[in-house]
Each structure stands twice: as structure tokens, then as C-alpha cells.
Assembly symmetry: C2
Homo-oligomer: 466 residues x 2
């Protein structure tokens, strides 16, 4: 075929495809998403007026109330909340310093879930390792020491691949260190910038292993201890943490629906998490996701005709340090699992959308690629295999096809879980494009005559990327 005839065929294909009802719907959603600044205004309210939304805080409950009201104001057919009990961990005083061979303060933040230290703190020599395996090799030398997990998180490419490998040091490092008799752990912040930032995050203990305090220090401080150990052989650190866990608190998932025209009992879930860490204001994690979901629902409500099935927005509580929102939703809606035709989560910031990760049954990828094609014009058409999100993860037990809205996360881990996760990190145009991508994919999944093939719950659950 000549170049010319290829061009003719391409042009015709484009014409046919542009004329399809799906492309018209997609074009309308994209146009409307790009025209408004409602997402940005909502995010400003959430971050600036409400602020950090740690589980157990008044701000999280303020966010529960405000998002429910907003979605009602935006015209959702039905808005309600579902009660979930959440952990109530509180940060207190936090101080750390090198005491020998020199005296220098360390930039420190307790990890979520950590116990505190006695008043005045714990003082011990530091032992430095870069992995759990390396810790185990140290054996008896760990007893009585503060363990420093000093693993460099590689500068992430577009997907933050190294977070998955680095995060076990933060989440389970205290368990492994305590088994060998350590008195506390410090982890080099899981972050990719060099501005002496502390990045907090969840840690956990296990039954039968002593609980020891755990904190993150800035990359610079981990490097300082490393150099001092190298040149002087021994470093003593004092760590004082006033954090602790209070009785569980009441919180809620926030739900809102635009009901389907033909099969209102069948549901496409679009979700994000309402809680955030306390150091910043949770703009990229996951305020952005919350307003992408809210704005998508608002737009979807304006569409005529409505899609065949119901679209349900779920703003999950307590993703960060408990996943109680996600687990609570799955448990409360177990009867409805077979009616969930898909669930999409947004939890990677508000960088430009690139596409969706997908966990579905055989043939699902081709179908999703078809819908993704409608988003190619805004660069959001790619489909990756294996995806979803933490909050919707429990639905995989019911075979629900899961999708994760994938943002460009080149800079995501520069700010993630740090004091610098603030509104200014969100590009308004990126936010708008994400609303476009989310609303188009949700509409298509809700309207397609044959839904995405379901997964086989007996297979291992897709691994969460972040």
C-alpha cells in the first residue's frame, strides 16, 4: 500500500472512530474536565482549610463531612457515609541527635504506629545496615543497638519502582531488629530528593516480638552517620519520641452515586483515600485522588444518556496506617461483590495521567486498551498489566477487575509522606487531565454491554505498586 493510501485509511478510521457514540462521550467528558477548575478549588479547601487528615484527627472527620456535603451539592443521586473504626496514633515530641563522636541534631519523624521512648529518650550506639538480610548477618552485634537502615532509594523514573523494594525496611524493620535485641530503629527516609526532608509512613509490630520505637531520619543525616561510622568506628545517638496509640476512633468511608440507566444495581467504583499523613497537607497523597474522584462523579452526573450501570465514588478512610476503609468497604459490601463490574483507584498524585494499570481476567487487557484509545489524545491511553490500588485491593477476593489510574510520578517520591506534600505541588492542568481520564474510563466500564472479564480470586492478588 502506498503512503498515500495508508494516510487515507488512517483518516477514515479516525473519522469513523470520532463519530462513534463512545468517542463523542469521551470528547465531551474531556472537554468539560479541561474547562473547569472545580477540582483545584476542592483540593485547595481540603489542603488549606482542612489540612492534614491523619486517622483519629478532627480534620479527617471534617473532611468526611465536607466531602459528603460537596458531593451532595454537586448533584449526586445519593450520598452516604459508612462507619469504620480506625487506629488513632498521635505524634508527640520528636528529637534525635548524634552524641558521640560529635554533637549534631538529626532531622527526625516518628513512623506511624511507633511506640514512644521513655522521657529523655534512648541512647545507644548505632549499627548500620542496608537490608534485612544484612541485619541478620550482623547477628549478636545488633543487641542493645539502634539499627540504622541506610538504603538509598533510587531516583524514580516514571513509576517509582524502587518504593516497593525500599518500604519493607520502614514497615517491618522494627520487628526484625527487635528479634535481634535492638532498642530502636532509624530508617533513611524513603524519598528521592536532597532537601533534608523527613518522610514518615506506616510501620507495624508483630505478636510475640518486643515493640521498639521506630523513626525516619533525613537522607543527609543517614549519610552523616555513615561517614562518621566509617571515619570514627562508632556513633552514639539519642532518640526521644513522644508518640503513641490511643483507643480506636470512629471514622467513615464517604460514598456517592450516579445511578445507571439500565442496570443500577451493577457498580463501577471510583475511589481514592481521604486520610493523609500529618507532616504535610496530603495534596499529592491523596487529596488529588479525592478531588479527581469527586469531580469525575460531578461530570458523569451531567451526561445524557447516563451509562448503563451505576458509578459509585468511594472516599476511603484510613488507607495510610491501617487500610480499615478499604477492608471495611469490602466487608460491608460482600453481597455486592458480584455486582461490582470494576473498581478504579487514584493514589499516585496529580502528575499528567499516562493510563491505567489493570488486573482483569483473560481478554480484559484488549478491552481496556480499546477504552484507553479514547484517552490517547491526552496521553493517557496506556494499559499496564497488574494493578489496582490499596483500598480497592480487598475486592480482588471477589474477582472484581481492578484498575489504577497511573500518573507521571517522576517527582512523586520527592514529596511523598513529607512536610512538603502541599497544594503547590499539584499542577492544575494535570488535575484536570486526570479528571478526564478517570471519568472517561469509568463511563466506558459502566456502559459497555459486556463487562471486563473478572479475575480468578484463587490466583495471587496483584501487588500494589505504592
Amino acid at each position: 500500500m502506498s503512503r498515500h493510501s495508508i494516510a487515507v485509511v488512517c483518516a477514515l478510521t479516525a473519522l469513523v472512530s470520532c463519530a462513534s457514540p463512545e468517542s463523542k462521550t469521551a470528547a465531551r467528558l474531556i472537554e468539560q474536565a479541561r474547562a473547569g477548575d472545580g477540582g483545584w478549588r476542592k483540593l485547595a479547601y481540603l489542603c488549606d482549610r482542612i489540612g492534614p487528615r491523619l486517622s483519629g484527627s478532627a480534620q479527617l472527620e471534617q473532611a468526611v463531612g465536607w466531602t459528603a456535603e460537596e458531593m451532595a451539592r454537586d448533584g449526586a443521586d445519593r450520598v452516604w457515609t459508612e462507619r469504620v473504626m480506625v487506629p488513632h496514633w498521635v505524634r508527640g515530641i520528636e528529637k534525635a541527635s548524634i552524641e558521640t563522636p560529635t554533637a549534631q541534631p538529626l532531622a527526625v519523624a516518628a513512623l506511624g504506629g511507633s511506640i514512644g521512648t521513655p522521657p529523655g529518650g534512648i541512647r545507644a550506639e548505632v549499627i548500620e545496615v542496608d537490608s534485612i538480610d544484612a541485619l541478620k548477618r550482623e547477628g549478636a552485634k545488633v543487641a542493645g543497638r539502634i539499627v540504622l537502615y541506610n538504603r538509598i532509594m533510587r531516583c524514580n523514573g516514571k513509576r517509582g519502582e524502587d518504593y516497593g523494594a525500599a518500604s519493607p525496611l520502614r514497615t517491618t524493620g522494627a520487628i526484625e531488629a527487635a528479634k535481634l535485641g535492638a532498642v530502636a530503629t532509624l530508617v533513611r527516609s524513603l524519598g528521592t530528593a536532597d532537601y533534608r526532608l523527613v518522610h514518615t509512613g506506616a510501620m507495624r509490630y508483630e505478636e510475640g516480638t518486643p515493640k521498639i520505637p521506630a523513626a525516619a531520619i533525613a537522607a543527609e543525616d543517614a549519610m552523616l552517620i555513615h561517614r562518621l561510622l566509617e571515619s570514627e568506628g562508632s556513633v552514639t545517638v539519642r532518640l526521644e519520641l513522644g508518640c503513641g496509640t490511643l483507643p480506636e476512633a470512629e471514622s467513615a468511608n464517604v460514598l456517592a452515586e450516579v445511578q445507571g440507566r439500565a442496570a443500577p444495581g451493577e457498580v463501577v467504583l471510583i475511589g481514592a483515600h481521604l486520610d493523609s499523613w500529618d507532616l504535610g497537607t496530603g495534596a499529592i497523597d491523596d487529596g488529588a485522588g479525592v478531588v479527581i474522584v469527586m469531580e469525575s462523579l460531578r461530570l458523569l452526573k451531567t451526561m445524557e444518556p447516563r451509562p448503563r450501570r451505576t458509578i459509585r465514588a468511594v472516599l476511603f478512610t484510613n488507607e495510610e496506617n491501617g487500610l480499615r476503609g478499604g477492608r471495611g468497604y469490602a466487608a460491608a459490601h460482600k453481597d455486592e461483590w458480584p455486582l461490582h463490574v470494576a473498581a478504579i483507584e487514584s493514589d499516585s498524585g496529580a502528575g499528567r495521567p499516562q493510563g491505567f494499570s489493570l488486573s482483569a481476567g483473560r481478554g480484559g487487557e484488549e478491552m481496556a486498551r480499546g477504552f484507553g484509545g479514547l484517552l490517547a489524545g491526552i496521553g493517557a491511553g496506556r494499559i499496564w498489566q497488574g494493578g489496582g490500588g490499596a483500598d480497592i485491593g480487598p475486592l480482588s477476593e471477589g474477582g472484581v477487575p481492578l484498575l489504577g489510574l497511573r500518573q507521571d510520578s517522576t517527582y512523586y517520591f520527592d514529596y511523598h509522606h513529607s512536610p512538603a506534600d502541599t497544594l503547590d505541588k499539584v499542577d492544575p492542568e494535570g488535575l484536570r487531565l486526570n479528571v478526564a481520564a478517570m471519568s472517561v474510563m469509568a463511563w466506558m466500564l459502566a456502559d459497555t454491554p459486556i463487562p471486563l472479564p473478572r479475575t480468578d480470586p484463587s490466583q495471587p492478588r496483584p501487588r500494589r505498586q505504592r
Copy 2:
């Protein structure tokens, strides 16, 4: 002329020029500077083992003692200290938060020299301006308010041009605000990154104007207040500072010399400042300059024959919040001013050297360009008109030609005066190249038969770039 004959002429010129005694000396200095890691090791000791070096602190005096010992160990012909009294300002508790229309903490650091607040802090409505002129236009509205100077420091190019324009808000902002009855000032940190960093720095008061507390907040927090003022009309902030000024403390300039072979009474001064702000460890400001000077002197001592004149290293105390070191040196050596043939300062970090800024009499620039040519191979051959450094500035009253070693400062103001000014920000190769540039320029100025033309002290002093 054909391409070939041009090439032949160029090659011959290069050969002749390479064969000159000056180019041989320069080549040897450059080679030796690039071979060693002595500068890096010294800087690691200064930043990691000694740490922040605020005037009045034990660490600054430790640095005085250690640098003197090191320069003696490195073989300087003569090492001595000269006593200087310095201000002794101490940082205390520092807390700031928005109290209405929402409750959010602010990232804050007192400015050096500020008075403290009463215990419990000051609470007032914020008035936001972006310049002193804008403040004056607010007139009576300023009384009783906390003034927020919210001026965006432009991302710097290679030279940090915007710092000069932005810094008066920090240094004199409290004076102007107090004249209109303000109760405190907050200044948006003078920095060029977005990692919720606070950048401290000097401020001052004036006789006859009330003293009010002054602090820097992170750029993110200034933007938050801006948005809240825009959407809500009014923002109340509480500011608590425990800082204050103690009686003056004893400190010292550290001096060391390599004596000249023919005119040992004539001096080329090479200098940097030993003190630093307290939030970081003063690696780029100005630990790098200190070790560039120390290493240059060590290298110059190894040269045979020695240059005609004496090269004197001066590590100035108290540049940051008083300039007592620079002023003290100039006063103590007033008799020697006519014997100072040039003074070079390094105080812009350790980015790759680009050349020298210069304040000299007529014809000086051409001469300096000749010496700069010897550094073209390492990219450090440029000469800019109008330069020097804060510490050597007072010598301009004696007509002494002043030079500033100019580093690439693309990232300098990302870290300057912040907790992130730490050793890891210094590239070892950049440090070595700076030693090469400083030692070559010093040698040439010390050996040239006819020294640089002196400036006319009746002319205005060159403006300091940073």
C-alpha cells in the same frame, strides 16, 4: 588563510603558550589540585565533626583552633590568629501557626539577630506585601499586624542574581514594618526550591525604631497564607520565638602565610569565612570556601620557585551576622593596605569554577584576563567586572584590587542558609577545580612583576553579589 594554516598557527600559539613559565606553573597547580582529596577530607571534618559554626558557638572556636593546626601541619610558613569580638545570638524555641480561619503549623526559623517574643508568643492578623514600597502604601493598616513579606525569589540562573534584590526584605524588613506599628515580620524564605525549607539569615534593627521579632517561613507556608487571605480575607498567626542576643563573644580570624621569595612584605590575600548559619552544617556557605583557601595555600607552599610576593590565607570569623572578621582584619592591617596587591574571596559554594569577578583600576581587567586564560582549560577563565566578597570588601577603602572566585551557583540558593546546607551538596571534583582556580590566580597575582592596578577608594565600593 586556509583552514590548515589557521590550525598550524593555533597549534604553534598553544605550544608557545604551554611552554611559558606561567603556563607550566598553572599546569602543575591544576594537576596537583585535581589529584588530591585533601579538600574533601578537610570539609568533611569541618561539617561532620565540628558542625554548624554560628558566631559565639563553641563549634566556631573549635573551627578556629582546628584550621590553624591544619594549616601549620600543611607546612605554612607562619600561622596565627587575630582576636575579634563577635555578636552572640542564640536560637531558641521557634513555633508559628495559623490560628484562623483554620489551624495549621508553619515551618519557621528565626532570623539571626531577632529578638524573641514573650512566652506564649504574639498573635495578630497578617498583612501581606511583596516589597517595602508596597508596605509603605499600606500605611496605617500595618499597625498591630504581623507583616508577611511574600516575594518570590526567582529561580536563579548561574549567578543567583535575584538574591540581591530579595534580601533587603529579610535584612531591613523589620525596621520598615516597625515604623508603621507592626508587631512582627515573617519573610518568605529566600530560596529557590520547593521542599518546605526554611532559610535563615541576618536581619538588623536601627536606633530609634522599635525592635520587633522577625522570622522566615517556608515558601509553601507563605503561599498558604496568600491563598487563605485571598479566599477568606483574614488570617491570624501566632509566632513564638525564644531567640535572643547574649554579651559579645571572643572569636578570631585565622591567618597563615607562604612567604614570597622577593617581596615578602607584599601580600596577595586569599580568604573565605569560617562561621556559618546554625540550621545546616555550612558546607556550601562557606565551608567549601574555607577548604579551597586551605588547600590552595598547601599547594602553593609546594611550588618551587615560590612566587615573588607573600600569599596570605585569611579565614574570617563572623561574616554572616556582623562582618566583624572582615572589618577587624581591615582595621588591624590598615598600615599594610598599600602592601596588599590583591585579595580574592571564595563564598559561593563549590559548584564548578567559572572565573573571577574583579574590582581593579584601569587596565586590570586585561591583566586578569591574561591570568584567566591559564584556567580556560578547566572552564574557569572568565573575568566579570565588579566583584570581590563581603569579608575583603573593607579593603576597598585602601584601593586593594578585589576578586571573587565565581562558582556555578545554579543550585546554590536551593540550599543556602537552610538545614540542607550539608556536605553531600558538595561535589568533590568541583572542590578540586576550585582549588586549582584559586591557587593559579593567587600565584599569578603574587608573581607578576607589575601588580594589578589599584582602585580609586573615592569611588563607590563594588556591590556584593551575595
